[in-house]
Amino acid sequence: MSNSSTTAPMLETRSLECVRDDRLLFSDLTIKLAAGEVLQIEGANGSGKTSLLRILCGLRLADEGEVLWQGEEVADVREDYYANMIYIGHLPCIKGDLTTMENIRSLLDTRSRSASDDEIEQALAKVGLAGFDDVVSKALSSGQRRRILLAFLQLARAKLWIMDEPLTALDVQGVALVESMLMEHRETGGSAIFTTHHGMQLPCEMSSVTLGVKC
């Protein structure tokens, strides 16, 4: 049976291997992520979770193996992949000198997405930043900055979310917010891959991959 792009999983890796400073982090890693699936990457500190996520989004090159987006190698369909994938790293990517609104706009601009002021305000209200749209971001707490990213995540309308420690600096309500956002995303056919050291309670099936089992 031919592996046409309609039946191929959204994201797939084939025998991925990553070596860092002469240390083998993982090898022969095969992941299949279907639409609507949520995957958690587990592992101790330094087991290669961030490296794996960076390989998945194409920022880092795998030492072996390949990453496929809807059945095609990521390097060949980079534009389509990046239009549908969003990566939230552990760095905030928020400019302290810009206001909340400007930060969201500039993040959306890099993805060639536009949103009206109303849409942005709605998204901000949802993440608990209503009324903060004209506040310069350096005046916000680190949790609030993470919330700007959550608002951006909603407005970007990507099919695949790759998130490195999305719960960093968030309070209890923030964690619940991320959980509900993930559920909503999943219901609309989106997928997500994330790492976290906090307990994430999703009322749905969630697959997981553990790196560095030896530790």
Binding site: R54, C57, G58, L59, R60, L61, E79, D80, Y82, A83, M85, I86, Y87, G89, H90, L91, P92, C93, I94, K95, D97, L98, E102, S106, L107, D109, T110, R111, S112
Partner: protein, 223 residues
């Protein structure tokens, strides 16, 4: 694609105007260095006139060199650079936007203030136009080549020395032809050759440097 270029350019300009003290740094450095020469060497018009092209061009070059750090450092540190690299738009276009913003904020002010410093240094009136025009052609090249160096060294702590070692050799042709053009113009001779050379280098840098920078950024991110 043009939109992405324009948006990033606008963002960088806006950010720069939000921290104005940094904005003025290269310009003040340029003015200070040039004005120190009459004090340190000699205030006589003959001496200054001979030195002027070299002094002004070297100061402009160092001023650009010192400002290069700003090009990618902040974006690298706060993670915005990753987002740029994950943009569906070609990275080359985004790099070009950032370099354009850098030139508008550092190179262009140097070009505009140059006639004043030329007067300080007794550059003859007929050579002032050439001074400005040579800087107008030369400073974008400095920004473009500098971007390659910065993208390679942005992840290195205290990469300043390394950066100078990488890009200064590439700056030297621009320096030689730029300073020589002003020198020759002071003697009332034609500078067509020098200007054509600077123009050619600008076209070359404009077409190749963003490609090299984009590749270098990908290498930096993959570490």
């Amino acid at each position: 694609m043009l939109k992405a270029f324009y948006h990033l350019l606008a963002r960088d300009l806006r950010l720069a105007f939000r921290s104005r003290h940094e904005l003025a740094n290269p310009l003040i450095f340029f003015i200070l260095v040039v004005t120190l020469f009459p004090l340190a060497v000699s205030p006589s018009s003959e001496t200054l006139q001979v030195m002027a092209p070299g002094v002004i061009w070297v100061s402009a070059l160092l001023s650009v060199l010192l400002s290069l750090d700003r090009l990618f450092k902040q974006d690298y540190e706060d993670g915005s650079l990753d987002q740029l690299m994950l943009s569906p738009n070609p990275l080359v276009i985004l790099v070009l936007a950032k370099v354009c913003a850098h030139w508008l904020l550092t190179g262009l002010p140097l070009v505009l203030i140059a006639p004043l410093l030329g007067m300080f240094m007794y550059v003859p009136d007929e050579a002032v136009g050439v001074l400005m025009f040579s800087l107008l052609l030369g400073t974008p090249v400095l920004s473009l080549i500098g971007a390659i160096g910065v993208s390679l060294t942005v992840a290195v702590n205290r990469g300043g020395v390394l950066l100078s070692l990488i890009i200064l050799p590439l700056y030297i042709p621009v320096l030689i032809f730029g300073a020589n053009a002003v020198d020759v113009a002071s003697d009332g001779l034609s500078v067509r050759g020098q200007m054509l050379f600077l123009g050619a280098v600008l076209v070359l840098a404009l077409s190749l440097a963003p490609l090299a920078t984009a590749v270098a950024l990908r290498i930096t991110a993959s570490r």
